[in-house]
Subunit: 132 residues, 2 copies
DNA sequence: CAAGTGTATTATACCATATGATACACTTGG
DNA sequence: CCAAGTGTATCATATGGTATAATACACTTG
């Protein structure tokens, strides 16, 4: 687990998953949570690659996915910026949240659990996390 | 999406994920749900491979994970059997359910959602699935 | 116009996944 | 006993995703 600062951001990479997926997931979260402001510039491909000590192509891979998500806009010669559209970000968050919910329910159902049991697991898990 | 019958089981394989992971997930579900009885014999490595038209080594990979899960026991010369221990199966289900719950909550939190919002997404998703 | 952007291309390397072929150890039914 | 069916192991090979490295191009700004 390696934590590095890139500009004002904190990114953590390990080797358990593809690097570009980790960058993608963490940037998505930062934008969704508002940790990076609307319209704000994010680190350039080269800067991010240098700070994380990885290849620029790997960062590019993540950044292209971010744009496909509608979370960023690129301006040639200037850099990559978080979209100005709050609506866009809200839609992305909702879409992802529903995807996660759907996948979660599918997995629980495949194990044979029903709604009340699923609720029970969730509240128990929440209490455990709260204790930490 | 290719659906095939292997003995009394129905397995569905595609090329979106590793084959052995798909077999593993579906066998886990079948055992957890009780679709395969406690102590029952499951298809041999060779039979499963033949019916699914894949390599025996790939099936082996999935079967070895099943045993690591504590869901199956192997008997040389006889075959692979679902464990006799109902406790073992129950523990496996609970462990996996808590894992899923934990991961789900983490993802939702990373998007910036709180408990009441998470509950809301879940109930909405559940209603959508019910309509189908 | 130099420096900093995103982008594209090519080559190389590594690892997980999957296949194919073959062989061994064990158990059971005929 | 032995043939057939089990799980298991070991090769070799192929493919695709991921990551690196080096280089070049197009664009924007100070």
């Amino acid at each position: 687990m390696d934590e590095r600062k890139v500009g004002s951001l904190r990114l953590t990479l390990d080797f358990s998953q593809p690097l570009y997926e980790q960058i993608l997931a963490q940037m998505r979260s930062l934008i969704a949570r508002g940790a990076i402001d609307v319209g704000e510039k994010i680190p350039s491909v080269r800067e991010m690659a240098h700070e994380l000590k990885i290849n620029p192509n790997t960062v590019m891979h993540a950044y292209q996915e971010l744009e496909r998500d509608g979370l960023t806009e690129k301006r040639r010669g200037q850099g990559t910026f978080v979209t100005e559209s709050v609506t866009q970000i809200r839609h992305f968050k909702e879409r992802l949240a529903f995807d996660y919910s759907d996948q979660f329910l599918d997995k629980m159902h495949s194990l044979g659990f029903r709604w009340t049991e699923i609720q029970s697991f969730l509240t128990t898990t929440r209490e455990k996390k709260g204790e930490r």
